[in-house]
C-alpha cells in the first residue's frame, strides 16, 4: 500500500495500481493455482526441490481419486444435504418470516426474540446435546442427522422477515379482500417479489452446508454417509504424502462451489456483502 499516491496524475497510462494489485492477486490466487498444478502433476514432480511445473498435464490423478475412494458417493451426499437444506430453509423461513412480519399473533414477539437469541450461541455449545438428541432419534450416522439441525435457521427467518416488512402492505390487502387465503397471498403475491433475498438465503445456505465440517465429523463415521469435506479430511490422513491425488480430491471437493461462484460471482458477492455472513 505504498503506491497510494502514484497513480493520480497519469490517468492515460496504465494505472500504477497494477503494480500493487497484480502481486496481491497472485499471492491470493497462488494456493488455489498450486492446488490445480499439483493435481495434474506426477508424484515424482512433487518430490523435487525446488518444485517445477509438470512437463505435461497428468489427468489420471482425478480417476485415481475417483477409484480409490467413494468420492462420487461423498459428492452426492454433500449435494443431497446441501440441496435439502436450501429447500427447507426457503420453505420454512419464508413461512415463519412472513408470519413474524405480517401476522399479529399472540406470543409472536417473544417467540421471535427467542429464536433470534439462538443465533448468538456458538455451535460448540449445542454440539454435544444435539448429538445426544440425534442419538435418541436413532439417526446417528445417517444423512437426516446432517440435514435436520440445519433445515431451518434463525438467520433465514430474520433475513426474510426483514424483506417481508419492506414490502408494501397494500399488495397483500388487495388480494385478501379478493378472498385469497394467507398461504395463497404468500405464494402467489409476495414470494414472487422476494427473489433477491430468497436467492441470498439459498446461496448462503448452500455454501455453509457444503463447507460444513465439525458437525459431519461428530455425527457421521461410515464412509457411505460422509460429506465430501469429511471424506477429504479422512482421505488426507490416510494418503498424506500423495499430494497429486490429494490435490485432485481437493479440487473435486471445491469444484461445485467454485463453479457456482464463477457463474454467479455477482450474486455471491452481493449476498455476502449485504448480510455479512460466511
Amino acid at each position: 500500500m505504498t503506491g497510494t499516491r502514484s497513480g493520480s496524475r497519469v490517468s492515460r497510462l496504465p494505472s500504477a495500481w497494477h503494480l500493487v494489485l497484480l502481486p496481491l492477486a497472485l499471492v491470493m490466487a497462488a494456493p488455489l493455482l498450486w492446488m490445480f498444478v499439483t493435481s495434474v502433476s506426477t508424484r515424482e514432480d512433487t518430490q523435487r526441490f525446488p518444485p517445477s511445473l509438470p512437463s505435461s498435464p497428468h489427468w489420471s490423478n482425478y480417476s485415481a481419486v475417483w477409484e480409490q475412494q467413494p468420492f462420487g458417493q461423498w459428492l452426492a451426499n454433500s449435494a443431497v444435504v446441501a440441496v435439502v437444506c436450501v429447500a427447507g430453509n426457503l420453505v420454512f423461513c419464508s413461512l415463519a418470516g412472513y408470519a413474524f412480519a405480517r401476522i399479529r399473533f399472540r406470543g409472536s414477539r417473544p417467540l421471535f426474540l427467542l429464536l433470534l437469541a439462538t443465533l448468538m450461541v456458538p455451535f460448540q455449545v449445542v454440539m454435544l446435546p444435539t448429538l445426544l438428541i440425534v442419538k435418541h432419534l436413532g439417526l446417528v450416522d445417517t444423512l437426516p442427522a446432517l440435514i435436520l439441525p440445519n433445515l431451518a435457521t434463525p438467520f433465514g427467518i430474520y433475513l426474510l422477515r426483514q424483506f417481508f416488512l419492506a414490502l408494501p402492505r397494500d399488495l397483500e390487502e388487495a388480494a385478501r379482500i379478493d378472498g385469497a387465503g394467507r398461504l395463497r397471498v404468500l405464494t402467489a403475491v409476495l414470494l414472487p417479489l422476494m427473489g433477491p433475498p430468497l436467492a441470498t438465503l439459498a446461496v448462503l445456505t448452500f455454501l455453509t452446508s457444503w463447507n460444513d465440517f465439525l458437525w459431519p465429523l461428530v455425527v457421521t463415521s461410515s464412509s457411505q454417509v460422509m460429506t465430501v469435506q469429511l471424506g477429504l479430511a479422512t482421505f488426507q490422513s490416510a494418503h498424506f504424502t500423495n499430494w497429486p491425488v490429494l490435490m485432485a480430491g481437493t479440487m473435486l471437493s471445491q469444484l461445485p462451489v467454485l463453479a457456482l461462484f464463477l457463474v454467479g460471482q455477482r450474486w455471491f458477492v452481493r449476498s455476502i456483502a449485504t448480510t455479512g455472513l460466511r
Binding site: 500500500m1 497510494t4 499516491r5 495500481w17 497494477h18 494489485l21 497484480l22 492477486a25 497472485l26 491470493m28 490466487a29 494456493p31 498450486w34 492446488m35 512433487t46 518430490q47 526441490f49 525446488p50 518444485p51 420453505v91 413461512l95 415463519a96 408470519a99 401476522i103 399473533f105 399472540r106 409472536s108 417467540l111 429464536l115 439462538t118 448468538m120 450461541v121 456458538p122 460448540q124 455449545v125 449445542v126 454435544l128 446435546p129 438428541i133 439441525p149 433445515l151 431451518a152 435457521t153 427467518i157 394467507r182 398461504l183 465440517f213 465429523l217 469435506q229 479430511a233 498424506f240 499430494w243 490429494l246 471445491q254 467454485l258 461462484f261 455471491f268 458477492v269 455476502i272 456483502a273
Partner: protein, 309 residues
C-alpha cells in the same frame, strides 16, 4: 407441510376452536411458524439448556449420565492443558483479528477503483471466501510442506533455510494464523469494498479540491465512514477466532506437542477422544460466556468510539 395446509383456511380452523387459541390470526401465525419453531427449538434451544445441565454431569456419550455437581468446573480451574489451550487461542486471536481486519481494509482500498482488469483482481481476492476450511487446510499442508512445499522453495530462492511450519512446535500456531488470514481476508475485503463503494464520490472530490491527497482522503474520510463495518468485522472475526477448529484439525491436529491446541480443539478432544462430554460441556459453557462478554465489550467500545468521533 401440514402446518401450511392448516393456514390455508385460518377462519375455518379458528371456528373449530383449538385449545386456547381464539383468533384466526393466532392460528395462522402459529401454524406458519410451527415447522421452523419446532426445528430450531429442538436443535437450537433445547441443546443450550441441555448443555448447561450436561456441564454438571459425568457423561461419556455412551452410558447414562451421572450427576457430578461442580466437579467439571473445578477441574477446569486446575487443568494446565486447558490453560495452555486458552493461551494459544488468545495468541491466535490477537494476531489473526488485527491482521485480517487491517489487511482487508487495505486490500479493499486497493480494489476500489475502476481500472482495466479490476474484476480479475477482485476474483482472485474473493475466491478464498468460498473455499472450505478443510480444503484450505489440505492445500496449506502442501504449500507449507517442510520438504517439498512451495513456500520453502520461495524461501530457498532468497537464501532462507527450509522451515518446519506446521511440524515445528515454535511455528505451528503462526502458520495457522497465516493460513486463516489468507482464508478470511477476501471475506473482509468483500464487505469493506461494498461499504467503500457506497461512500459518495463528491465527498472525496471535495476533499481533493481542498488539497487533501488521495491517501489522506482514504484515511480521513472513507475509513471513518465505514466504521460500522469495522465494528461488525471486529466482532465477527473475534467470534470466529475464538471458535477456531477445522483448520487446526486438518493441518496440525493440535500438535506438535500441543503447540497448536486451541480451546475448541481441546474441547473436541475431551468429548470425542477421552469421552469426557460433561467436562467438554463445561468448557463450552465458559466459551459461550467469554464470547458473549467479548462481543458486548467490543460493541460498547465501538459505539463509544463512534459517539466520540
Amino acid at each position: 407441510m401440514s402446518a401450511g395446509l392448516a393456514a390455508r383456511s385460518p377462519a375455518t380452523a379458528a371456528r373449530r376452536g383449538r385449545g386456547g387459541l381464539r383468533t384466526a390470526d393466532d392460528v395462522a401465525g402459529w401454524s406458519l411458524v410451527a415447522p421452523g419453531t419446532v426445528l430450531i427449538g429442538l436443535f437450537g434451544l433445547v441443546p443450550v439448556v441441555w448443555s448447561f445441565v450436561l456441564s454438571f454431569q459425568t457423561n461419556d456419550l455412551q452410558t447414562p449420565a451421572t450427576w457430578a455437581g461442580t466437579k467439571n468446573y473445578r477441574q477446569l480451574v486446575h487443568d494446565p492443558l486447558l490453560h495452555q489451550a486458552i493461551r494459544h487461542t488468545l495468541v491466535y486471536s490477537v494476531l489473526f483479528v488485527p491482521l485480517t481486519l487491517v489487511g482487508s481494509l487495505l486490500v479493499a482500498g486497493a480494489l476500489n477503483r475502476r481500472i482495466r482488469g479490476i474484476s480479475i483482481y477482485r476474483l482472485a481476492v474473493f475466491v478464498p471466501v468460498v473455499t472450505s476450511t478443510v480444503a484450505t487446510g489440505v492445500i496449506f499442508s502442501w504449500l507449507l510442506d517442510p520438504q517439498f512445499g512451495l513456500l520453502n522453495a520461495g524461501l530457498a530462492e532468497v537464501g532462507v533455510p527450509s522451515q518446519g511450519f506446521f511440524s515445528s512446535p515454535d511455528q505451528a500456531l503462526f502458520a495457522v494464523v497465516g493460513m486463516t488470514v489468507w482464508g478470511w481476508i477476501g471475506f473482509g475485503a468483500l464487505i469493506y469494498l461494498a461499504a467503500l463503494q457506497s461512500v459518495p464520490q463528491d465527498l472525496l472530490e471535495a476533499a481533493q479540491l481542498d488539497g487533501c491527497t488521495r491517501a489522506g482522503a482514504f484515511w480521513r474520510i472513507q475509513v471513518p465512514l465505514v466504521r460500522p463495518v469495522t465494528a461488525f468485522l471486529l466482532v465477527w472475526l473475534t467470534i470466529n477466532a475464538l471458535q477456531l477448529f477445522d483448520e487446526v484439525y486438518v493441518t496440525t491436529k493440535g500438535g506438535p506437542l500441543h503447540a497448536s491446541t486451541v480451546v475448541v480443539y481441546y474441547l473436541w478432544q475431551q468429548a470425542f477422544a477421552y469421552f469426557h462430554a460433561g467436562y467438554a460441556a463445561a468448557i463450552s459453557v465458559v466459551l459461550f460466556l467469554v464470547i458473549a462478554v467479548v462481543t458486548l465489550v467490543q460493541l460498547r467500545l465501538t459505539r463509544d468510539a463512534e459517539d466520540g468521533g
